[in-house]
C-alpha cells in the first residue's frame, strides 16, 4: 500500500523517540548541539497508508495501460524518486543511478501495454525492472570488483543548513559503504524496505520470495549492516 517515495509508516510515537535518540548520537558525534527542530523530517512524518492515493495510482495505471500519456507522466512523478533512491543506494553513484533510472522508465514505457499485475503493484514492478538492471550491471566484469567512487547525492535546493547537510552526507556515505558489504539480496531487501519504504508484500513481490523469507532476510540484513557500521552510529 505504501508506494510513496518517502519511507513508509513510522508508526506511533515510540519510534519518534528512537529516531530522536539516533539523531542525537549523530549530532553529538560531530560535536553539534542537541537536535533542533530543523532536523525534524518534513511534513507527513507519520504517514498512514493513503487509500485515496492508492486509488489514484490504480486509476493512473489503468489509463496509462490504455495509452494515456499524461497518466504515465504522473506515474513517473510519483515513482521517480523512489526508483532513483533504490538505484543510488545499490550502486552508490548518482550518475549510474541517473542512467539506470532513465532505462527503467523507458522499459516501463515500452512494457506498460502488457502490464498485467494489479495497478497497485506497479511500484513493485518498476523496482523489479530496476533490480534487474542492477544485476546486469554488476554482472559486467568491469564493475564487479570495484565499488564506484563515492559520489555524494546532491543536496536538493531546500537544504536546511550546512552542518546538517554535511552531517547527512557523511552518514549517507558511511551507510552506503556498509550496505555494500552485504550480499546483493540483502542489499535489495534493505533498500526496498527502508529506503524506498516498500511493504513486506511489495518487497516479496519484487524479489520473488515469500513474505516469511523477506522478514528473515531483512532481519539478517539489518544484523549484518549493524556489524559494519562504525561504533558511534550503531
Amino acid at each position: 500500500m505504501r508506494l510513496s517515495s518517502r519511507p513508509s509508516v513510522y508508526g506511533p510515537e515510540d519510534l519518534a523517540g528512537l529516531r530522536h535518540a539516533v539523531l542525537t548520537v549523530l549530532m553529538s558525534s560531530a560535536g553539534q548541539g542537541p537536535v533542533g527542530p530543523t532536523l525534524a523530517p518534513d511534513s507527513g512524518d507519520v504517514e498512514p497508508p493513503d487509500d485515496a492515493e492508492q486509488h489514484r495510482i490504480v486509476a493512473l495505471v489503468d489509463l496509462a495501460r490504455k495509452g494515456d500519456v499524461e497518466a504515465f507522466g504522473q506515474l513517473y512523478d510519483h515513482y521517480v524518486d523512489s526508483i532513483h533512491r533504490y538505484l543510488y543506494f545499490r550502486l552508490s553513484s548518482v550518475s549510474l543511478a541517473d542512467d539506470l533510472t532513465s532505462e527503467t522508465f523507458f522499459r516501463a514505457l515500452r512494457g506498460i501495454g502488457s502490464f498485467r499485475w494489479q495497478g497497485k503493484a506497479f511500484g513493485a514492478w518498476l523496482t523489479t525492472i530496476a533490480r534487474n538492471l542492477v544485476t546486469d550491471h554488476y554482472k559486467s566484469s568491469r564493475s564487479r570488483l570495484e565499488i564506484v567512487a563515492d559520489e555524494l547525492p546532491e543536496r536538493p535546493a531546500d537544504t536546511k543548513g550546512p552542518e546538517e547537510g554535511a552531517m547527512a552526507a557523511l552518514t549517507s556515505e558511511v551507510l552506503v559503504e556498509a550496505l555494500h558489504r552485504l550480499a546483493p539480496e540483502q542489499q535489495d531487501c534493505l533498500v526496498m524496505r527502508f529506503c524506498q519504504g516498500l511493504t513486506i508484500a511489495e518487497t516479496a513481490r519484487s524479489l520473488g520470495r515469500s513474505e516469511g523469507a523477506v522478514k528473515q532476510l531483512q532481519l539478517r540484513a539489518i544484523r549484518n549492516l549493524a556489524k559494519h557500521l562504525p561504533e558511534d552510529l550503531r
Binding site: 507522466g73 543511478a97 495497478g119 513486506i200 516469511g212
Partner: protein, 409 residues
C-alpha cells in the same frame, strides 16, 4: 529448532520495525531488538532525501513524454476486464462504466439499432455490449411502476446470477472483480425489487406480490448455494453480502405475510459466510498476520474455492499485490488442508483435533439450517447432491480456519 526461533525473531522484528509494539521479552532481547530497530530507523532517516537532482528528473520526464506519444499510441482503447481492487473498482473505472451505461441508455431510448440491442441480450459483464444490455433492462424498468417494476427488477437480479454462474464457470483469472461487481448489482436489484413488491403488498394487500418475492428468494438461495464452491476469493465479501441480503429479504417477506408462498424460510449458509467474512476482516483490521498455521490454511482453504484464479490472497488484505499469472500452486485435493502445513507455529498438537470437532459442529448446524439435508456424499454435479455435501468444502476449511485462529496464541 534454530529455524523456528529465527522465524519468530523475524516476525518480532518485522512487527517492531513497522511500528507495532514488540512483545515483552527478556530485557536483553528487548534491548537487542531496539538496537536493530534503531539501525533500520537510521537507514530510513539517511535515505529520506531525494537522491536525484531536480534538473535530471525534469529532463528525463520530458524525454519520456516525447517518447510516450509514440510508444503508447498503439494501445487499445476498448475497456477490457481489468484487474483492480476487490470490490469497488477505482473511481476512474466506475466513472467510465457509468458513462458507458448512460450513453448506452440514451442510445437505447432514442431507438438505437435493434440489432445491437438484440445482440446485447446474451452479453456478459466485461464485454463491449454489456452496458447496452443493462441499459435495455433499465429502460424496461423505467416503463413500469409498482409491483410490475419490482418483478422486473427481480428478473434482472436473476439474470445477474446467470452471469455470475457463467463467469465462475469460465474460471478466468481476471474475473474476480467482474464477479464481485455483478454480485453487488444482484444484491442491489434484489433489495430494490423486493422493496417495491413489499411496498405494493402493504398498499394493496396482494398476496401474489409476497409470493413472488418468496419464489425469488428461494430460487436465488439455491443458486447462491450452488455457486458457493466456485466463487473466487476476490468476490467472497460480495458473495456474503448477497447471501445475507437474500436471507434478509426472505425473512422480511415471511414476517409481512407468513402464509404467502409455500416455501420454507431461507438461509443461505448465512452463519458460515458471516463467520468467514468476520474472521478475514478481523485479521485484516488487527494488522496481524494470523499465526502461520491459520494463514497457511486460509490460503489453502480459500484456494480450494477458486477455479483457476491466480490470486493467492484472502479478499480483505488490501496490501497484498497479486502474483502475475502464476499458476495456482495449491491444486484442490480432498485431503484436509493444513495437515501437512507443519506443526510449526503453535507447537501443539491439539489444533487439528479441535478443528475437526468444530467442523462437525458446523456441519451439524448447516444440516439444521438446510432442513436436515441428506447425508449423501458429494457427487459430481448430480441434482440430488445434498446441500450439506456441497457445503463440505466450506465447512471443513472454515472449521479449521476458525479453529486455527480461535485456538491460536
Amino acid at each position: 529448532m534454530r529455524s523456528r526461533l529465527s522465524r519468530r525473531d523475524a516476525d518480532v522484528f518485522a512487527a517492531a520495525v513497522d511500528g507495532h509494539a514488540p512483545e515483552a521479552a527478556d530485557a536483553a532481547r528487548a534491548e537487542r531488538l531496539h538496537e536493530l530497530v534503531d539501525v533500520a530507523t537510521l537507514v530510513r532517516e539517511t535515505s529520506r532525501r531525494p537522491t536525484a537532482q531536480r534538473d535530471f528528473v525534469a529532463v528525463l520526464r520530458s524525454q519520456l513524454m516525447a517518447a510516450a506519444a509514440d510508444e503508447l499510441a498503439g494501445l487499445d482503447e476498448t475497456p477490457e476486464p481489468e484487474a483492480h481492487e476487490a470490490g469497488h473498482g477505482a473511481p476512474a473505472q466506475v466513472r467510465v462504466r457509468r458513462r458507458l451505461t448512460a450513453a448506452a441508455t440514451a442510445f437505447v431510448v432514442v431507438g438505437g439499432s435493434f440489432g445491437i440491442v438484440a445482440a446485447s441480450a446474451q452479453s456478459m459483464p466485461g464485454e463491449m455490449l454489456y452496458p447496452v444490455k443493462r441499459a435495455t433492462e433499465r429502460v424496461e424498468i423505467m416503463l413500469r411502476s409498482g409491483s410490475a417494476e419490482g418483478r422486473a427488477m427481480l428478473d434482472n437480479a436473476s439474470t445477474r446470477l446467470d452471469e455470475v454462474a457463467a463467469l465462475a464457470a469460465e474460471g478466468k483469472p481476471d474475473a474476480d472483480n467482474l464477479i464481485a461487481d455483478t454480485l453487488t448489482d444482484f444484491t442491489d436489484e434484489a433489495n430494490d425489487g423486493g422493496d417495491l413488491l413489499l411496498d405494493s403488498y402493504q398498499n394493496n394487500g396482494s398476496q401474489s406480490d409476497i409470493a413472488e418475492v418468496r419464489k425469488f428468494t428461494a430460487a436465488s438461495a439455491d443458486r447462491l448455494e450452488d455457486l458457493a464452491v466456485s466463487i473466487p476469493s476476490g468476490a467472497a465479501t460480495e458473495y456474503a453480502d448477497a447471501a445475507r441480503a437474500i436471507t434478509g429479504l426472505d425473512s422480511t417477506a415471511v414476517n409481512a405475510c407468513p402464509a404467502c408462498g409455500g416455501q420454507p424460510p431461507v438461509n443461505v449458509n448465512g452463519d458460515l459466510l458471516s463467520a468467514v467474512a468476520y474472521v478475514l476482516d478481523k485479521a485484516n483490521t488487527d494488522g496481524i498476520d494470523p499465526s502461520a498455521q491459520a494463514s497457511g490454511r486460509r490460503h489453502e482453504s480459500i484456494s480450494r474455492h477458486k477455479s483457476e484464479s491466480s490470486s493467492q490472497q484472502p479478499p480483505a488484505q488490501g496490501d497484498l499485490p497479486l502474483l502475475p499469472d502464476d499458476p495456482i500452486t495449491d491444486p484442490p485435493t480432498d485431503s484436509l488442508p493444513g495437515t501437512s502445513d507443519g506443526s510449526d507455529s503453535s507447537g501443539t498438537n491439539s489444533g487439528p483435533k479441535n478443528d475437526s470437532s468444530l467442523t462437525d459442529e458446523l456441519q451439524d448446524t448447516t444440516q439444521d439450517l438446510t432442513g436436515g439435508g441428506s447425508n449423501q456424499p458429494k457427487s459430481g454435479g448430480g441434482q440430488d447432491t445434498g446441500v450439506s455435501g456441497l457445503l463440505a468444502p466450506i465447512t471443513q476449511p472454515v472449521g479449521e480456519l476458525l479453529g486455527g485462529v480461535l485456538n491460536g496464541p
